[in-house]
Amino acid sequence: MRRLFDEELDELDNGFTEMGILVSNVVQQSVAAFIDHDREAAQTIIDHDHDINEREIQLETKSFEIIALYQPVTSDLREVVTILKAVSDLERAGDHARNIAHATIEVKGNTRVAEIETQLAEMGHLTTDMVKQAIQAYVDKDEEAAKALVTVNDQLVDYRDQIMRDSYREITTDADVVVAAMNYNNVAADLVRIADYLTNVGEWIVYLKTGQIVELKLMK
């Protein structure tokens, strides 16, 4: 039997997927802008940050409405709760993409380190792919794919640590790279934070499927 509730839930579900795609695109664009030293693209990302915030509020409002009007239980409740929790994670991931855009603007015109930027590009692509995988895992309601996200998270942490070491080394040899090196550190940290938030989304997908609240990082 198709319920009125199913239509409301579909709308919420689609809204969440769209927000996921939006965040995924912004992460990709912020990484590309940083690598390409594209100040204009970075500014566009900053200017459109509120789009993601508005999406979050819309989806939260819709979730509250559904809870109040339909009083969902079992997997219905888990789906609404998953979205309610995961939209905050997506929104915060979006905030870190905006930070990367700010870094792009700050670094422009300063002495740079090509070797580190290459690493950041690799790290950026890995993060972008992970965001896409997380959104796909949500669309497919795929618990195993959700759990697999944590592996990428580990790789990104290794990248960040390497970038931090390299940045400090460069600073000690050439004081002119300070601004760039500090921003490399920040961008690497932002990418790891984005991955953390998407790992959280993965945890909510596991909850949606099983009803268990898990810490994927502790499950390894």
Binding site: T74, S75, R78
Partner: protein
């Protein structure tokens, strides 16, 4: 440990029709168990079997065992009046007798031969207080129970059951004929009683089941599909049929 009420392989037939198909669902002391399920799932049949209310139906056949404190309630020597004193029942429609509130509450005790007025007064007060209706009726005890509102009548009916000090209280959709405020008063009453009595209630109101019960049993087509802690049933039931029913996909 012996269960307070132990039910094993319970079958009930109305003529040829098998209404209950081998139910095992037992009860420890205390707490509220909600029986839920679509209309015709035989949850009321099950409930009424627990104090032999189904005996009155012609053509009924009951097999399996129901033991109350280890004693088979369908054994020939079982005294029905005693059994129903121990296992009382409250029905869907409030059904006070056409007497005063006072006489309604003492009905069971009078039947048992109690004549001590002081004791009767005491029981009336205690029972009506337990049923959370004392403050509303204490100045009208000798007026007709039929003059009360539906919610008050139902609480007087609960007091009438409590007056004979039962072990188990069976309720068959006790609030379905009541408005939301009266329903919530009944719910509050049951929650207060759950420490001293074992309460088994049939309800179609799923939110009521989730609000007040400790344990929920889901009935379908004469079988218990699933019984578990109410939280588990409403958050993450083990069976798809339970999930589908609870989330309104059928029924």
């Amino acid at each position: 440990m012996t269960k307070l009420l132990e039910i094993h392989d319970l079958h009930v037939y109305y003529g040829q029709k098998e209404a209950l198909k081998g139910v095992d669902l037992s009860f420890d002391e205390g707490g509220i168990t909600a029986l839920i399920g679509p209309s015709g799932s035989s949850k009321s049949t099950y409930l009424r079997t627990l104090n032999r209310m189904n005996d009155l139906i012609p053509d009924v056949t009951i097999t399996g065992t129901i033991k109350f404190r280890g004693q088979d309630i369908y054994a020939p020597q079982t005294d029905l009046v005693t059994l129903r004193k121990e296992i009382g029942m409250v029905f869907q429609q409030p059904n006070p007798f056409p007497f005063s509130i006072y006489d309604n509450v003492i009905f069971g005790l009078k039947l048992a031969g109690e004549k001590d007025h002081e004791r009767l007064d005491q029981v009336v007060e205690t029972s009506l207080k337990q049923a959370a209706v004392w403050d509303e009726v204490k100045d009208h005890l000798h007026e007709s129970a039929l003059s009360l509102s539906g919610g008050q009548q139902q609480r007087v009916c609960i007091a009438r059951v409590l007056a004979v000090s039962p072990q188990i209280i069976l309720l068959d959709e006790p609030t379905s004929a009541l408005d939301p405020i009266s329903s919530s008063q009944i719910e509050a009453t049951l929650l207060k009683l759950r420490t001293d009595y074992t309460i088994i209630t049939v309800t179609h109101n799923l939110q009521q089941a989730s609000r007040i019960s400790d344990r929920t049993a889901f009935f379908m087509d004469g079988e218990v599909i699933e019984v578990d802690d109410t939280k588990k049933i409403f958050m993450n039931p083990a069976h798809k049929q339970t999930e589908d029913y609870i989330s309104g996909r059928f029924g």
